[in-house]
């Protein structure tokens, strides 16, 4: 039970395939709201247990909130604590907000004078890092999205359209319209196109209070789609990751893509 210590928090978001895959998540205080200006508060953390903050806070550098009208909006009261980050969001518009932490970067390794070197950061800064006499240069692009959805009033679809970058969830059932005893359909797109064969893991929160993870596993079909039958209410964590060669970064051979979402399932 080796607990991975990460000195650089960014690493967690940038590298989907580390030896120890901790769960990265945003957890809104609630997902279905009403009123003239309801607020949500959101926890953001990296941990093994869902949804308990006991490992690392999630850095909020890539925080991106799309309001129901499609515009980006700002959060309030951002704070990074020992184990979690927190921010508040007033829902001034009616409809669905897409709350995401999007990370786009590179990680690289090379040898110089027989010594192995590593780098993580942005593709721009990478240019200055790799020395001209470096050998065995390996560069991997990394695109990660961690998100959740909250709705003031009636669910809307403007904010949840795919951006076309990386892995994204295209909800066939609205992500704020999930109820026990019902089936919900989802489509996964990579660069905006439906992706077959993605392996999806879904885990209900509250893992501390049970003996097994009770993971649900799915694989997307030829339309990039899969269906979930919800049996218990709660906050659920959904994750998938993949890899391809469609990178536009010079020297990069591969691109790693990761996606995680927090979805609330309400009882009937």
């Amino acid at each position: 039970m080796i607990r991975f210590s990460l000195s650089i928090l960014l690493l967690v978001c940038l590298v989907p395939k580390t030896g120890s895959a901790h769960k990265v998540w945003l957890r809104p205080s609630q997902t279905t709201l009403s009123g003239s200006e309801p607020w949500v508060t959101v926890d953001a953390a990296v941990s093994n247990d869902l949804f308990f903050f006991n490992h690392f806070p999630l850095k909020l550098d890539g925080l991106q909130i799309i309001a129901p009208n499609g515009n980006e909006v700002e959060t309030q009261n951002q704070s990074v604590g020992k184990y979690r980050s927190v921010f508040d969001l007033p829902l001034t518009q009616q409809g669905t907000y897409r709350i995401a932490v999007v990370n786009h970067g590179v990680f690289a390794s090379w040898e110089q004078s027989g010594e192995r070197k590593r780098f993580r950061g942005t593709s721009e800064s990478l240019q200055h890092e790799i020395p001209s006499d470096a050998t065995h240069v390996q560069v991997t692009e990394s695109v990660g999205r961690v998100e959740t959805f909250v709705t003031n009033g009636e669910p809307s679809n403007e904010s949840i359209q795919p951006t076309g970058k990386g892995v994204e969830l295209f909800p066939l059932t609205h992500p704020n319209d999930l109820y026990t005893g019902e089936k919900s359909g989802f489509r996964f797109v990579v660069n905006g196109k439906p992706m077959q064969g993605l392996e999806i893991t879904i885990i209900r929160g509250g893992t501390r209070y049970r003996d097994t993870q009770e993971e649900m596993q799915f694989t997307t079909d030829e339309n990039g789609e899969f269906t979930v039958q919800w049996t218990e209410p709660g906050m659920y964590w959904l994750e998938t990751r993949t890899e391809d060669n469609e990178t536009k970064i010079p020297d990069a051979q591969t691109r790693r893509l990761s996606y995680a979402a927090t979805l609330e399932v309400l009882p009937q």
């Binding site: 039970m1 080796i2 607990r3 210590s5 120890s20 895959a21 093994n48 003996d211 097994t212 993870q213």
Partner: protein, 174 residues
């Protein structure tokens, strides 16, 4: 026969019985299951004896991450062994000599305790359970119990089986 004599006789007889039956060693085997999972970490495992009221009367072993980037890094997750933590772990100063050990790989592990071990020698006759608890990072948690009566008769062999994290657990007296 006077009551006192009867009592003395009984005492003598039971002492004789004790001398004949008492094994020299208490042995337990613990199987950590092989698991085919994408991310595997060796489980934390704790082994103890508890009485009928579930008070821990002997802490036999706890395997956890002893080395790490920081001192005591691995102790942070000891409460994941939640029953062990409650029954005994939280009152112990880790590491405990002769109890603490590094995590172990999947497979069967044997622990032996001399009957003269300080944890066993004063154990009053009665009903107890051997408890084995395992908790694995990003995995599951399981507790297996073997009820037994102390002192254990010679060649007494007891078994129990876990479903997820733990395989067969045995308790033998030799």
């Amino acid at each position: 026969m006077k009551p006192l004599t009867t009592a003395m006789l009984c005492l003598t007889l039971s002492s004789v019985g004790w001398a004949e039956d008492i094994p020299s060693t208490l042995e337990t085997t613990i199987e950590i299951r092989h698991l085919d999972v994408s991310e595997y970490h060796r489980p934390y495992v704790a082994v103890w004896i508890q009485d009928e009221d579930r008070n821990a009367v002997a802490s036999l072993a706890v395997w956890y991450q002893i080395t790490g980037s920081r001192k005591d890094a691995g102790t942070k997750w000891l409460p994941d062994l939640r029953q062990w933590w409650r029954r005994t772990g939280r009152s112990l100063e880790m590491p405990v000599d002769g109890v603490s050990g590094a995590t172990r790989p999947a497979g069967t592990h044997k622990l032996s305790f001399a009957i003269t071990d300080s944890r066993l020698v004063d154990l009053p006759a009665g009903k107890y359970s051997l408890v084995v608890e395992a908790a694995r990072e990003v995995g599951g948690r399981e507790l297996v119990e073997i009820p037994f009566t102390w002192p254990l008769g010679q060649s007494k062999s007891l078994k129990a089986k876990g479903k997820n994290e733990l395989g067969e657990v045995t308790l033998n007296a030799k």
